[in-house]
Symmetry: C2
Subunit: 346 residues, 2 copies
C-alpha cells in the first residue's frame, strides 16, 4: 500500500466517497434503497441481535488492525445467532467515525468482517456511516430458526448434561500474549500463534448446529411432542458466566467437573492449573456454545464434533453452581456471576 | 422528579442496573437470551435498516430532551421501512453512553422511542448498552413486506405521477424556530407549535400503505402480472434529494411543479415564497413518502389521504430534474443532489 493511500483520511473523501469504496463488500442488489430486502424461508422465525463496539473500550484503533476488529465484531454477532440455534441471513453495519480515521483502516474493517461472514455465506446488507468523535461499530445480525429448534437459556432440566463445543481460555490467553509478548517463553511458535489466532479470529459455532439437529432427531422419542428442548447460550462472557446464566434463567443448579473443562494443550507448557482454570472460566470471548441436553444425545454430540468438545457437568436441582474436583485435590467452589462483566466505572 | 433521581448517573448503577430499569420498555418474553426471536408471517420478505445517531451531530444531549431524541430516532427508522412498503416487526437499540449521562435522560430516550413505536405496535426487541466517550444511539429496524409490494427507488417510469404524502419544510422550519425563538413573530402560537411538533415528533407514514395497496388493487388491470410496480423513498434528506435519487436510480428525469409542492399554511405568515421553497426542497426530516405511480391511482391516492398529500410532478424521459413554474414567474431550475448532505468535514 503506498503511503498516499494509507494516509487518506475519512474527512478527505466524506460519507459518499467512503460509501462508494465500501460498496464492493455488499451484494450489489441491496444498495441504494431506504432498507434492504432479505428473502427468508417459510416457517422460520426471525432472530435478531445487536452489538456496539467502542474504540478504546472493546478494541483499540491503534493496536487492533481493522481486519481483526471487523472479524471479531462479525463473529460475536454470528455467535449470538448460533446460540439461539439460528442460521444467519445478514448483518447491518452502523459506523461512527472521526474525520481523521484512515480510510484504509475502515476498508480493512470491512475486509475482516466479510472474511468472517463469507465462511457462513452471510452478506452485509446495509448500514449507516456518520461522523462521531469516537470510532463506533454497531452491528445487528439477523437470522432464521425453526420455532421448534430455538435454543433458550431458561429450559435446562435437572439431569441434563452440560456440554461445551470446544476448549476455553484460548482467546483471553491469546490477548494476554498480545499485550505481554514477554510471557509464555516456553510456548512453541505454533502454540503461541494458535492462542493469538483464537483471540483475533474466533469462529462462531454455527457449524455444530446441523450436527446437533441430526443427533437430536436420531435420539428423539417419536411418541413425544415434536419440539426438541435444548438450553444454551454462547460463552462470550466466559464459561462460568454461561453456566450460571443458564442455571439462573432455568431455576436450576449445576455441578461442573473441574477436570472435564477442555483447555488448550498449550496451557500445559505455560500456566499453572489454577491460572489455566481462571482463563477457561472467566476469560471470555471463546465464542463456543454451552448447551444443556439429555445425557445420551449429549455424549453422541461431543463425540461427533470432537476438537475439544466435552461434557463438563450436570444440571442439578440445587440452587448453586458448584465447581467440583473429582480428584479431591481442590475443595468445591461456588461459581458466581460478575467477574467477566463490563461496568461504567472502570 | 426529585433531584436525587434526576442527578443519578449511568456510572452509579452500571450496565446491569441500567438494563434492569430499561426492561420495562421491552416485551418480557424477549429478555434474557443471546438474541430475540420474532415471529413473521408466511410469504413475507424481511426488510432491515439501520441508523446511527451521535450526540453533537444528530442531536444534542443538552438541548434535545431524551424523549424527543428517542421519538425521532424511532420515527426515522420506521420511515425507512414505510419507504420500502414494509410493516414494522421490531427494533433493536444499541447505546454507547459516557458514565456521566443522567439515568433519567436514558429513561426518557426509551420513553420517547416507545411512545412513537406504540403507535405502530412495534416492540423494542433487543439491544446492547456499552460505555463510550460519546453518547451514541444505533437503531436497527426490521419489518416485513410481500415481495410483490416492495417499493424501490429504481422502478420509476416515464409518465408516472410524482406524489408526496404531506407538506414539506415543516420539520426544518420547526428546528429553526427552536434554535431562534425570536423568528416568526407573526406566527400564531398554534402555528408555531405545529411546526415545532413536526420537528420533534415526526410521524413515519406507515399509515398510508394500506390505502396505497387498496387503491393500486382497485386500479390494477387483472390481465397484467400481479406485481404492482411502484417507485419511491422517504423525504428524510429533503424533497429535492428524494426526487433526484429516484430519477438517478431509475434512469429517468422529472418535472416538479413549484406551485404544487404542499407547504405548511403557517409559512404564509412568516416566509417569502423563496424561503418557503428552500425549506420544502432542502430542509429534510419531514419523513413523508415520495412515490411514483401511474397518474390515475396517484390522484385517487392523494385525494383519499388528504392533509397536504399532492401530485407534485411527472417522470420524464429527460436526464434532468427540473423545477418548473407554471405561472412563469420563475425560470426553470435544475434540482441537484448534495445540499441536504452531511459531510465529515463540517
Amino acid at each position: 500500500m503506498n503511503s498516499e493511500l494509507s494516509s487518506l483520511q475519512v474527512r478527505d473523501i466524506g460519507e459518499q466517497g467512503l460509501l462508494k469504496r465500501l460498496q464492493r463488500f455488499c451484494p450489489p442488489e441491496i444498495i441504494g434503497d431506504d432498507a434492504a430486502v432479505v428473502p427468508t424461508e417459510p416457517g422460520q422465525s426471525l432472530v435478531v441481535t445487536t452489538d456496539v463496539l467502542i474504540d478504546g473500550v472493546h478494541f483499540s484503533e491503534i493496536t487492533t488492525s481493522g481486519e481483526d476488529a471487523g472479524w471479531r465484531s462479525a463473529a460475536a454477532n454470528l455467535s449470538d445467532l448460533a446460540a439461539m440455534g439460528a442460521s444467519p441471513l445478514g448483518i447491518t453495519v452502523g459506523l461512527g467515525l472521526p474525520g481523521d480515521v484512515s480510510v484504509s483502516w475502515v476498508e480493512q474493517l470491512y475486509q475482516g468482517m466479510t472474511q468472517c461472514l463469507q465462511q457462513y455465506n452471510t452478506p452485509i446488507v446495509g448500514g449507516d456511516i456518520v461522523r462521531s468523535p469516537t470510532t463506533t461499530i454497531a452491528i445487528s445480525a439477523f437470522g432464521q430458526v425453526s420455532p421448534l429448534r430455538v435454543i433458550r437459556r431458561n429450559t435446562a432440566k435437572v439431569g441434563d448434561a452440560i456440554i461445551v463445543t470446544g476448549v476455553h481460555g484460548a482467546s483471553s490467553a491469546g490477548l494476554k500474549l498480545l499485550l505481554h509478548p514477554e510471557l509464555g517463553q516456553n510456548l512453541s511458535e505454533s502454540d503461541r500463534a494458535t492462542l493469538i489466532q483464537a483471540h483475533q479470529r474466533p469462529l462462531p459455532r454455527l457449524d455444530v448446529l446441523p450436527i446437533l439437529w441430526e443427533i437430536l432427531e436420531a435420539h428423539h422419542d417419536a411418541s413425544l411432542p415434536s419440539q426438541i428442548r435444548i438450553a444454551g447460550m454462547d460463552s462470550s462472557d466466559g464459561l462460568a458466566d454461561a453456566v450460571v446464566q443458564i442455571c439462573r434463567a432455568s431455576g436450576v443448579g449445576a455441578v461442573v467437573e473441574r477436570i472435564s473443562i477442555p483447555l488448550p494443550t498449550a496451557f500445559n507448557q505455560w500456566l499453572t492449573k489454577e491460572q489455566a482454570l481462571e482463563y477457561a472460566l472467566y476469560g471470555g470471548e471463546d465464542f463456543e456454545l454451552v448447551l444443556c441436553l439429555p445425557k445420551e444425545p449429549a455424549y453422541a454430540f461431543v463425540q461427533q464434533i470432537g476438537n475439544g468438545a466435552a461434557v463438563v457437568g450436570t444440571i442439578t436441582g440445587e440452587s448453586t453452581v458448584i465447581l467440583h474436583d473429582q480428584t479431591q485435590e481442590y475443595p468445591d467452589q461456588d461459581l458466581q456471576l460478575g467477574r467477566g462483566f463490563q461496568h461504567f466505572d472502570h
